[in-house]
């Protein structure tokens, strides 16, 4: 979790951001037309700002900017149909609409996902799952997967530095960079596999595969507001699907 402890998204029950993000993703895919998807993206950004995860909206712009540019070129510049001239550029009207629709969809999903990632607390999530009496193995799978990325990145940095100190050239020509892929990737993968083995031993001896109901160390409060937000998010996503199918 990278949010301030007092942020609304950090104080919410762990299932709430999860359900809201899933609902946004479903709605983004289901909602038809540029207006609706742009409205959803705007609502997502406002929600993220209001719950204290505003940096996620900014961070999302990093992967989104090239995607938006690509969509603009693909659909707006190279698209078919009636044309409209904007700042001396001849653009496809339908293509632009499609680019905005797809761009807003991606924007909503990316922003909500990064906000969820920022608000996610592994320990609170595991406690929430334990409190419900749901299987710990499922919770572990979710948490370990989310936490694997930063660990993998940190390990990659160590291997990069080690290989560089042993004379591997990582900068310069494309050929140099391609040559460096093997010496960096193979130790990374082999190390990860070895770690999986040893972590498996550790989890086994620490009773992670037990059949007993796990104790929630500090069960997060599931307030009425949390439950209402989750229901509202699920119903909104359902409504978006209904609108798409029957609208």
């Amino acid at each position: 979790m990278t949010l301030a402890p007092g942020a609304l998204a950090a104080r919410a029950h762990p299932f709430t951001p999860l359900v809201v993000t899933a609902a946004i993703a479903v709605a983004a895919i289901a909602l038809p037309g540029a207006m609706a998807t742009v409205a959803l993206y705007a609502a997502t950004v406002i929600l993220v700002l209001a719950t204290g995860a505003g940096r996620a909206a900014l961070r999302a712009l990093v992967p989104l900017a090239p995607l938006w540019l690509f969509l603009f070129l693909l659909h707006g510049v190279l698209g078919d149909g009636s044309r409209v001239t904007v700042a001396g550029l001849s653009l496809s009207r339908d293509g632009l609409t499609l680019a905005v629709t797809q761009g807003a969809r991606l924007g909503a999903i990316a922003t909500a996902s990064l906000a969820l990632y920022a608000a996610f607390s592994p320990a609170r999530f595991v406690d929430a799952v334990a409190e419900r009496g749901w299987p710990f193995s499922a919770a572990y799978l979710v948490v370990a997967t989310l936490l694997a990325l930063p660990r993998f990145r940190a390990r990659a940095v160590v291997i990069l530095e080690a290989q560089r100190s042993r004379g591997l050239r990582l900068r310069g020509s494309v050929i140099n960079r391609i040559r460096a892929i093997g010496p960096v990737t193979f130790p990374l993968l082999l190390g990860a596999l070895a770690e999986v083995d040893e972590r498996g031993f550790a989890l086994e001896t620490r009773c992670a595969a037990g059949t007993v109901r796990r104790t929630a160390l500090a069960p997060p409060a599931d307030r009425m507001a949390d439950r209402m937000v989750r229901w509202a998010a699920a119903l909104s996503a359902g409504a978006a699907v209904v609108w798409r199918v029957f609208g």
Binding site: M1, S121, P122, A123, V126, A130, F136, Y140, V143, A144, L147, R151, A194, E195, D197, E198, R199, G200, F201, A202, L203, E204, T205, R206, C207, A208, A209, G210, T211, V212, R213, R214, T215, A216, L217
Partner: protein
């Protein structure tokens, strides 16, 4: 009372042509510290994995002979569950022994008791005691992945200590510890034995374990070459023939041509050379 028994045990890893253990027999009793040592590849780590039931269950391979861990064959169905929380295994790489999901050291130490469904009060009290015993209460709120190797090793040991296990299996537990950490661990091993636990340590730390262990088992190429009182074996020549070594002073005395029985500590060395 025997807590761990190996009777004519053999084990070969998948794809290996040479067995890691052959005809290996030894026992570890309650209230005693049993020290396993040997040259690289002697089979001490394999013996611990077999005792914990992780080999061959997780490693694959073929085991022969009989093992009883707290009265159960650890390779039998259901044994892992029955032994859960009663056997503590500490490996030499602390970073891979972390649960991977704890945000604080306190949560890390509480991981196994929580999995066993202990009541919250008991968990919190146990975590506090374990952190105190390893002299790391100040790390309770730290992210375990940001700790130094030595701190991480203490956390991993605390995460086992909290369970108050009946059998300890430790593989090079001092690999990342500093001098103070090693001394602390040695005191802890003795106090655990005093509590009635059986402690089995695979280590080459002769300086530390010479005065801590009650019994020394030396493996050579997967076989028990020597089994006896550490202070006796470390002073003689047979331990060198078996591929293991003695304490720093014992090694120095041997290199200096001192005949067995050799001194094992500085005090003994001074007394010997003063004569």
């Amino acid at each position: 009372m025997t807590r761990l028994g190996f009777d004519d045990v053999g084990f070969t890893y998948p794809g290996a042509t040479v067995p890691a253990l052959t005809g290996c027999s030894f026992a570890a009793g309650a209230g005693a510290v049993t020290w396993l040592t040997g040259a690289l590849g002697a089979g001490t780590s394999t013996a611990l994995l077999l005792a914990a039931g992780l080999a061959p269950m997780h490693t694959g391979g073929l085991r022969t002979g009989r093992i009883h861990t707290l009265g159960l064959d650890p390779a039998e169905d259901g044994a892992a569950r029955a032994l859960g929380g009663r056997v503590a295994l500490v490996l030499s790489t602390p970073a891979t022994q972390l649960s991977g999901i704890a945000e604080t050291v306190a949560q890390e130490v509480a991981f196994a008791p929580a999995n066993l469904g202990w009541p919250r009060d008991r968990i919190h009290a146990g975590v506090g005691r374990a952190l105190e015993a390893l002299a790391i209460p100040h790390l309770a709120t730290r992210d375990p992945t940001t700790l130094s190797g030595g701190e991480m090793q203490r956390v991993v040991i605390a995460a086992m200590l909290v369970l108050e296990p009946e059998l300890w299996l430790l593989d090079e537990p001092t690999s990342a510890l500093d001098v103070d950490g090693r001394a602390l661990l040695h005191r802890l091993l003795r106090s655990e034995a005093l509590r009635g636990a059986a402690v089995v340590v695979a280590s080459e730390d002769a300086d530390g374990l010479a005065t801590v262990a009650d019994r020394l088992v030396v493996l050579t190429a997967g076989r028990v070459a020597l089994d006896g009182v550490p202070q006796d074996l470390l002073r003689g020549d047979r331990i060198w023939d078996a591929g293991a070594g003695s304490t720093s002073i014992g090694t120095l005395a041997r290199v200096a041509g001192v005949a067995a029985p050799r001194p094992l500590s500085v005090d003994e060395g001074v007394a010997r050379w003063a004569r």
